[in-house]
C-alpha cells in the first residue's frame, strides 16, 4: 500500500499542486491572487507532463555523439538528403535550426514557440522513424510507433509492461533485417526494451527520457505565461477603471450599474 503510494509520489505532487491552484481560484476574491492560483494550477500540469516523459535513469534528450540516427524529414528540406550514415555526428541542434529555417510559418507570432517545439518533437520521433521509412519496410512503421508508445507508457512501468511486449518483439525483429541495427530505436530506448534482445543490448549505452512531453510543456509554459500576462494586465485595467480588484466590490459596483441599487449586504461581506 505505502509502496504503491510512494512509487507514485510525482503524481501526488501534481495533484496537490493542482488542488492548491484550483482552491486559490475558488476561494480568493482578489483578482491577482486568482491569476496566481490559476498559474499554480497550470504549473501542476507542466509537472504532470514532465513526469510522463521521465524515464528512470534516463538523461536529457540531447543526442550524444555516435548515436545519431537519420533525423530529417522526407520532403524538400535542406536536410532531407541526410541518410542514416551521413547523420552520425549530427546533433539535434542543427537539425532544429534547419527546421526553423524551413518552416516558413512559424516566425510570425508567439506561435513560433509552439511550432518549433512541436517540430523538435517531430524530429526526435523522426529519428526513430526515418530508417524504417527508407528501407521501405512499410509494415514496420506502426511497429516503430508502437515502440514509441511503449516507451511513453513505461514511465508508468507497472501498467504498460505487457502492452509493450508483442509489438516490441516484432519491431525489434524487423529492424535487424532492415540492416539498421538499433540506431533509431535506442534513441528513445528503455532498459526494459534493451534488456530483452541482443540487438538492443549492445547499442543502448545511453538512455534518454522521452523528449516529446518536454517540448509540449515548453509550449504550454509559453501559453501559461501569456495567459498570466494578459490576466494581470486585465487586473491592472480593472484597478484603473474601478479602483479595486476585490471581487466583492466589483460585483457590488456591477450590480449597481445593472439595477441601480446597492447589492444587499455587499458592505457587510
Amino acid at each position: 500500500m505505502w509502496e504503491f503510494i510512494l512509487e507514485r509520489y510525482n503524481y501526488w505532487i501534481v495533484i496537490t499542486l493542482m488542488m492548491t491552484g484550483l482552491y486559490i481560484v475558488f476561494s480568493r476574491g482578489n483578482l491577482v491572487k486568482t491569476i496566481i492560483g490559476l498559474n499554480v494550477f497550470q504549473t501542476s500540469v507542466f509537472i504532470f507532463y514532465i513526469t510522463i516523459g521521465k524515464i528512470a535513469g534516463g538523461t536529457a534528450p540531447i543526442l550524444m555523439g555516435g548515436h545519431g540516427g537519420g533525423h530529417d524529414g522526407q520532403g524538400d528540406h535542406t536536410s532531407a538528403t541526410h541518410g542514416a550514415d551521413a547523420a552520425h555526428d549530427v546533433s539535434v541542434k542543427p537539425t532544429l535550426d534547419d527546421l526553423r529555417a524551413g518552416s516558413d510559418a512559424a516566425e510570425a507570432a508567439g506561435e513560433v514557440e509552439a511550432h518549433s517545439h512541436n517540430d523538435l518533437a517531430a524530429a526526435m520521433k523522426g529519428v526513430e522513424q526515418q530508417p524504417a521509412y527508407e528501407t521501405q519496410s512499410l509494415h514496420s512503421l506502426p511497429d516503430m510507433a508502437q515502440a514509441a508508445q511503449g516507451n511513453s507508457i513505461l514511465a508508468d512501468p507497472g501498467e504498460a509492461a505487457e502492452a509493450v511486449l508483442t509489438p516490441r518483439d516484432q519491431g525489434l525483429h524487423d529492424m535487424p533485417e532492415a540492416g539498421l541495427g538499433a540506431d533509431g530505436h535506442e534513441t528513445l530506448g528503455h532498459e526494459a526494451v534493451t534488456s530483452v534482445t541482443d540487438a538492443a543490448a549492445h547499442a543502448a549505452d545511453i538512455i534518454y527520457t522521452n523528449p516529446l512531453p518536454h517540448v509540449l510543456i515548453l509550449t504550454a509554459i509559453v501559453v501559461g505565461v501569456a495567459t498570466t500576462a494578459v490576466g494581470l494586465a486585465l487586473a491592472v485595467r480593472i484597478q484603473e477603471a474601478y479602483g479595486t480588484i476585490e471581487e466583492d466590490e466589483l460585483e457590488a459596483e456591477d450590480y449597481e450599474a445593472e439595477f441601480g441599487e446597492r447589492l444587499a449586504g455587499s458592505e457587510a461581506r
Binding site: L22, V25, F26, T34, E247, E251
Partner: protein, 573 residues
Amino acid sequence: MPELLNPGVIFTLGAFVTLFLAAGLRRYFMLAVIAFSATVTWQMDLGNYGNLQLFGETLTVTRYDVLSRLFVVVFHIAAALNVIYGWHIKDRVENFSALAYPGAAMGGVLAGDWLTLFVWWEMAAITSVFLVLGPRSRSTYMAAMRYLAIQIASGVLLLAGIVLVYRESGSLMFEALALRNEAGDLNFGPLLVFIAFGIKSAFPLLHNWVQDSYPKASITGTIMLSVFTTKLAVYALARGFAGTGELIWLGAFMTLFPIFFALIENDLKKVLCYSINNQVGFMVVGIGVGTATAVNGAVGYAFGNIIFESLLFMSLGAAIYRTGTSKATELGGIYRTMPLTMTLCVVGALSISAFPGTLGFVTKGLIIDGVAEEHLMLIWLILLFASAGVLEHAGIKIPFFTFFAHDSGKRPKEAPPQMLIAMGIGAVLCIGIGLYPDPLYALLPYQDQIAGYHPYTSYHLIEQFQLLLFAVLAFVVLQKTGWYPAEVPSVNLDFDWLYRVPGRAFLGWVITSVAAIWHLVWDNLVRFMEAVARGLHHTHGPEGALSRTWPIGFMALFTAIVLGIMLIVTFLI
C-alpha cells in the same frame, strides 16, 4: 424563375414592394398586383408548376387543379373587394397585410407538397397577426400574441405531423391522408396534421381564437381575417381528409353551438364571428361526407360564404365606420340615413340564409343534398336546424339590429363610395351567381356530379321557402308578442313556464356546466401560467439566480464539480 410565379408569390412580392411606396400610391399598386395576378392565373392551365429540388425532395410550389382553382378565384375576388373597401386606409402595415395575407392563403391553396404548405401556413399566421395588432393598444397586443401563439402551435403540429407522414409514406406530396388505419386505430402523423388543420378551421373547443382576435382588428382587418384563415383550412381539409367520418359530427356540432352564442351576443362583430364558425361547420360536414356532391357543396359553399360573409362584414363595418360602435344596444334605426348600406346588407343576409335567388341557395343545397343522399337523417335535421339558426343570427339579427330595431337616434352619413362599391360588387355577385350559377358550377371539382344538378326545381324551392318563410314568420310572431329578446339583456318572468320544458332546461344546464368547467380549467390554467411566469422571472430574470453574474470562484468551482461528475460517471460505466 417564371415557373415559381404563382398568385401567392406575386402577392407576397407585391406586399413587400408596397412597404416602400408612398401612401397614396399603394392602393393603386395593390389593385394592379391583384389584376396582374388574376391575369397570370387566367392564363395558367391546370397542372403542376414550379418543381423545386430541396434536400433531395421534389417540391411542387404550384398545383393548379380543379380544387385549388376555385379557392384561388374566390381569394382574388375577396382580396380585390378588400382593397376597394379599404381604399381610405393608408396604414403601411395594414396595406402590407392586405396583399401578403391573401398571398399566403393562396400560396397554401396552391401548395403541391407538405413543405410548401407549411411555409405558407406559417406565413398566413404571421402576416395576419399584423391585422389583429391593428389598433396597437395593449389589449390588441395581448390578443395578437394569443392569436400568434395558437397559429404557430398549429404550424408546429403541422410540421411534426408532416415529419411523421413523410417518414411513413416517404413522400412529401400533399395528398389525402387516412386518419385511421385498417384496424381503426388512429394514425399519429395524420392525426397531428388533422389537429393542425382543425385549429385553423376552428373546430369546436379549438374555436375560441376566432372570437378572441377577429373583433379586435380594425374593420378592414376583420373582414380580411374572416375570409382567409378558416377557408385555407377548409381547403386543406378538403384536400387531406375528404370522407373522414369524424368530420361529419365535428361539423354538425360546429353548426350548432354558435347559433346560441350568436343569439345572445351583443357585439355584432362577434355575432358574425360565431357565424363564421357555423358556416365553416356546414363545409366541414360536406367534406366529412366526402361524396362528390357533398364535396362540391362544401367547396362551393366556401366560395359563396366568402362573398356573402364579406358582404355582411362590410356592411356592418360601414355602420361601425360611421357610428363608431358595433354594439347592438348602441346601433339601430340608422336605415334612415344609410339606406344603400342597409339594402346591401339585406342582400347579404338573404344570401347567407340561402333564400332562393341568392348565392347561398345555389350552394348550400348541395351540401344538404349530399347529406341526404347518404341518408344521414340526424345530420340532415341538424343542418336544417342550423339553417334556421343562420337565418336567425346572420339573416335577421345583423340587419335588424344594425339598421332597424329601436332607434338609437344616430343619423350617420351614408357609407363612403369605396365601401358602397365594394359592397355593391359583393351584392351583385350574390344575386348574379344566385340567379345564374353555371359559372360557379363550372368551377366545382366534380363536374360529372354537378352536370345534372339544378337548384331551381320546384320542390327545392318549396322546401326552402317553407323553411325560411315560416322561420321568418316565427320571428314576426315572436316580435309581435314581444317574446323576442330585446337587444338589452332583460329577463321577462312571464315566460318562466318555458323553463319547465325538459329539453331546454337540460340544454341550459349542459351549457352552464360546460361553461363552468371550462372557466374553471381556463382560470386555473391562467393562474398556473401566471405563477409559472412569475417563478421563471424569479429564477431566470435579470436578478434571478440562474442568470446573474456569478463570482469567478463559483464558476470555477462549478466547473470542477462538472468535471467530477463526468469523471465519476465515466468511471462507473
